[in-house]
């Protein structure tokens, strides 16, 4: 029998349904892998082997009783610790929420459990999803399972969904939830040789997901294949009346709609993404991607997204502004950490609690956000940023008059070493240069593995689609996946 931990969502679902193996066998195999890897990779903040087994038992029982099985029946997954899970600690990787045990379940996680998935544990992440390397977690760095040849230096799994990407690449789970505010699904997927899709803003409910930047946050699946992403996105997505920004649209059958033919499709190549001094390996993988999509029948057209260079500065005004307000609720009054120095008044308690509870990157972003919203600066920063954001969205609209999807690199480089950029916030922010524009425009975008760079580290290619056209994105992703033939996996050293 094959190693169950090498299987993806579709294989597990089909195998459980066919009786090739039981859901409990699958859960046990992944529970063991999780336990074995935890000391070295630190991908999880808490593990929940019993929850995985309970869900598996229910699926096995349902199958034995001849009941219909859900889309994700028997598939154990990792849950990014940004999703509130009832009765299981939910921290956003911050000390300020240490010990917080929600009395509620996020809509997305509930949808997944309803589809028959089980939870292996809560995955580590950058604190409040702020970071691109998973170095801002209060629960320690996540170590990528990937290493450079003949080098044991720990590499970043990307961020903020770094626990998710590391766990999937290391075969600790077949799939995991991610959230993407400026690239937090796509960049870690690219860094670890897996796939991930951020759907159109509003497809997945934000209810019960710890907020970072409300107008940008969007949940999505991370897995090892495009098909698995399609299956899991179907399970996660759907209208939620509890989220005012949720899209009231039926969930398409993305898995059934998968079609790798690009005949009659036009693929846009944004001129402005071709940066001076671009990493040659990244440039080459982009060229490979263009060739593969051409091979799949697509017509390649050059498009222009003239405001691209302003996307990151726009993002670094809007996201911190929203975050500074979203994170005001962590005040030590109703839940989470309370730091009450002797004789402190209410306002002192707030300041002490928040100083002790938030990590440096979170504080930095709250400070920036507070500043750009403050009296006298609001228009110059925030209003200007929302205008530029409108221009960025318009760039995409105009580009999509000439193409169906856009192809670009996911990240400017392959994974870097831990500590390499953590002292320079700006250098770290630049990692999201290719992923942030689609976030600002709310568009669906995915990263698929494209190959390895000269160091032997994975590179990702990004497909950006029009609003609501996840199918087009997945199909282009599938065409790339089939031609890239990416089979590399990190050698097990943990």
């Amino acid at each position: 029998m094959t190693d169950l931990t090498d299987l993806g969502i579709a294989d597990i679902r089909n195998g459980v349904a066919a009786g090739t193996f039981t859901a409990v066998e699958v859960a046990e195999a992944f529970n063991a892998a999780v336990a074995a890897a935890q000391p070295a990779l630190n991908a999880f903040i808490v593990t929940t082997p019993d929850a995985a087994l309970d869900a598996a038992r229910r699926v096995d029982a349902a199958r034995a009783a001849g009941q219909a099985l859900g889309k994700m029946a028997g598939v154990p997954i990792g849950m990014k610790d940004l999703f509130a899970t009832k009765g299981v600690q939910t921290t956003a990787a911050s000390k300020i929420l240490a010990g917080f045990t929600p009395e509620y379940e996020s809509t997305v996680s509930q949808n997944l459990w309803n589809a028959g998935a089980g939870m292996l544990g809560k995955l580590n992440l950058d604190q409040f999803a702020m970071g691109s390397s998973n170095e801002t977690s209060a629960f320690g760095n996540v170590i990528s399972p990937w290493r450079r040849p003949n080098d044991t230096a720990p590499l970043a799994p990307g961020g903020s969904s770094g626990g998710s990407s590391a766990a999937i690449a290391a075969r600790l789970c077949p799939a995991a939830t991610g959230t993407d505010t400026g690239g937090s699904i796509r960049q870690p997927a690219a860094f670890t040789g897996i796939a991930g899709i951020k759907p159109t803003y509003g497809r997945c409910s934000r209810w019960g997901v710890v907020a970072f930047a409300s107008s940008l946050d969007q949940a999505g699946p991370m897995a090892r294949s495009v098909q698995d992403c399609a299956i899991m996105l179907e399970a996660m997505a759907g209208f939620d009346p509890k989220d005012s920004t949720s899209l009231d649209l039926p969930v398409p059958e993305w898995e059934a709609g998968l079609n790798p033919s690009m005949a009659g499709k036009r693929v846009g190549i944004p001129r402005e993404y071709r940066l001076d001094g671009m990493d040659p390996d990244v440039a080459k993988s982009w060229d490979d991607g263009i060739a593969w999509l051409k091979d799949a029948g697509a017509e390649i057209v050059e498009v222009s997204l003239p405001h691209t260079k302003y996307a990151l500065p726009t993002y670094y005004i809007i996201a911190p502004a929203e975050a500074s307000s979203n994170l005001a609720r962590y005040d030590g009054v109703r839940y989470g950490l309370r730091d009450l120095p002797d004789g402190a008044g209410l306002q002192d308690m707030y300041a002490a609690t928040r100083a002790a509870g938030f990590g440096p990157e979170v504080k930095r972003r709250i400070m920036i956000g507070t500043y750009v919203l403050s009296a006298g600066f609001y228009d110059a920063y925030y209003t200007q940023a929302q205008k530029v954001r409108a221009l960025i969205a318009r760039d995409f609209e105009l580009a999509f008059q000439h193409c169906d999807v856009i192809l670009a690199p996911t990240a400017p480089t392959a994974a870097f070493a831990l500590g390499e950029k953590s002292d320079d916030p700006l250098a770290m922010y630049l990692n999201d240069v290719f992923s942030v524009p689609a976030s600002l425009a709310g568009l669906p975008a995915m990263s698929v593995p494209a190959g390895l760079d000269r160091q032997g580290l994975p590179l990702g290619l990004q497909v950006i689609g029009q609003a609501f056209d996840e199918q087009g994105v997945l199909n282009a992703g599938l065409a790339l996946e089939q031609r890239a033939g990416f089979t590399a996996k990190p050698a097990k050293w943990w």
């Binding site: 929420l97 209810w207 005012s244 005001a328 609720r329 009054v333 919203l373 009296a375 609001y378 925030y382």
Partner: protein
């Protein structure tokens, strides 16, 4: 308004006071503005709190349609511009009664724009001396929770039951110039809200409270620096706060000081205001559009449905009472000042017209006069309000019908009404039981009249000699002899006839 204007007499001369009011009115709704928790008053602490109201991580607001509808109806009732595109902003500050760390409010694009309310200071003639008070805007926002400071030696307790309840903030222009004008404005606003049904106007329970902006200036000069006295919860207190704050400011200015723009607190026990220490640090609310919510877009159909659902409002009703029912401006004003009074009056009017088989205009004066004198007098004595009046409009109409058809006289009607109040019995039953029916039989009265004149032959002589004032004496004697039950008109006619 006359130019016998309100002035504060200072050492350096006269000062004028400038007043603007920001009224927070709790919207009548079953559930909160952005959550499904209940709004009812007086629940156990934190029993009416959802995870949204407690600002748990990942919780999101979903707006309540009824709250929007009520705010639009209120806007229409003050002739205001309804903004079909508005949006919610976050007002960011830290306080223990504010779980989110921000209040969802509307700064940049309020739901309701410019409107106005007409006030009058002359109760006798509400049509005279009308002053128009501008209303700058009405926006919808969340209420905060409640802090209790007296339960524990070192702690304050937080109750979030009110957290997230919908408020309308109704912001006036600084158009008022005296405590009396501010009082009239508040009473009129409260009446309109209660007519519309968008706020119960209950100031004791905190469903209506005012932030009072006061400044002083020499008449005709530029506006002075204003202070804001927060959360004043009765009309009387608002007037007191203005009086105190205005003279305090005059004292400060006349002793060479400067008025500090600050938030103050009103102390009802002393009738004074004081600076609010906890809110002193410079605020920077960092308003920005709430990214959890989309812009609020209303269509014409929604606004028109709101308009169609509006009742007749106090000014229109008063005018109609004057023109269609022929009531005096004063009486019409009294009857329309409170929605309950108008409602009671109209029920009485309808019943009275039906019982007497006449048009409403024909019985309006009788009904209005009885209500404003007899019923109000009785309620006053009994210390009761119209809502728990011991007689119903139908019972009252029965009484009025007995007067109108001559069954009893107006004098007897007063007695019957007293008995109704005491026993709760119907007017007709009381009249029947106690034999209070008026005597209109000419023969019977004629006999009594003849006897009265015979018994007082000397006075008849004097009358005939020109002392006509004695006519009243004969009437009185006749009525007395008949225990007040004689029809006074018949008595008059017969007396005139027999006295020749």
């Amino acid at each position: 308004m006359t130019e016998s204007a309100y002035r504060i007499q200072g050492a350096t001369g006269e000062w004028e006071v400038v007043i603007g009011l920001e009224v927070h009115a709790q919207v009548v709704s079953k559930s909160k503005l952005f959550s499904g928790a209940a709004t009812a008053f007086g629940a156990e602490p934190n029993a009416q709190v959802s995870l949204v109201d407690a600002a748990m991580p990942g919780m999101l607001p979903v707006p309540n349609k009824e709250c929007i509808r009520q705010a639009v109806r209120t806007g229409l009732a003050i002739d205001a511009q309804i903004n079909k595109w508005s949006r919610f902003d976050r007002k960011n500050y830290f306080y223990a009664d504010l779980p989110q760390g921000y209040q969802i409010s509307q700064l940049y694009h309020p739901l309701v724009g410019e409107g106005h309310i007409d006030i009058s200071l002359d109760d006798k003639n509400p049509d005279a001396e009308v002053k128009r008070i501008g209303i700058e805007r009405i926006h919808v926002e969340q209420d905060a929770g409640k802090l209790m400071h007296d339960q524990h030696p070192t702690m304050s307790y937080v109750d979030l039951n009110r957290s997230g309840v919908a408020l309308m903030e109704i912001v006036s222009r600084p158009d008022m110039r005296s405590p009396a004008e501010a009082g009239a404005y508040l009473r009129k606003l409260r009446a309109i809200l209660r007519y519309v049904g968008s706020c119960d106007g209950n100031m004791e329970e905190g469903s209506m409270r005012a932030d009072v902006n006061v400044s002083v200036r020499k008449p005709g000069a530029e506006f002075g620096t204003r202070t804001e006295t927060k959360n004043v919860n009765s009309v009387r207190f608002v007037m007191q706060a203005i009086e105190h704050e205005a003279s305090r400011q005059v004292d400060v200015l006349e002793s060479g000081g400067k008025v500090v723009q600050e938030t103050r607190l009103f102390d009802p026990d002393t009738g004074t205001t004081r600076s609010m220490r906890s809110k002193e640090d410079a605020h920077d609310y960092r308003y920005f559009p709430d990214p959890d919510l989309l812009p609020l877009e209303l269509d014409d159909a929604f606004v028109e449905a709101c308009r169609a659902s509006l009742p007749e409002l106090p000014d229109a009703k008063r005018k109609r009472y004057e023109t269609a029912l022929g009531l005096t401006p004063y009486v019409a004003g009294v009857l329309t000042a409170e929605v309950e009074t108008a409602r009671w009056f109209e029920a009485l009017l309808a019943e009275t017209a039906t019982k007497q088989g006449k048009g409403e205009e024909a019985v309006a004066k009788q009904a209005a006069n009885w209500l404003t004198s007899e019923l109000f007098g009785a309620l006053n004595r009994l210390g009761r309000s119209l809502e728990d009046s011991p007689v119903s409009p139908a019972q009252a109409a029965e009484l009025l019908a007995l007067v109108a058809d001559g069954t009893i006289s107006g004098t007897i009607a007063k007695q019957v009404f007293e008995k109704m109040l005491e026993s709760g019995d119907g007017a007709a039953a009381i009249v029947e039981r106690d034999g209070l029916k008026q005597e209109s039989d000419t023969g019977a009265i004629e006999a009594v009249v003849a006897k009265v004149l015979a018994d007082n032959a000397d006075k008849v002589e004097q009358y005939k000699a020109g002392k006509e004032a004695l006519f009243g004496f004969f009437v009185g004697q006749t009525m007395k002899a008949m225990q007040g039950k004689a029809n006074p008109q018949v008595v008059n006619e017969l007396l005139k006839k027999q006295l020749g």
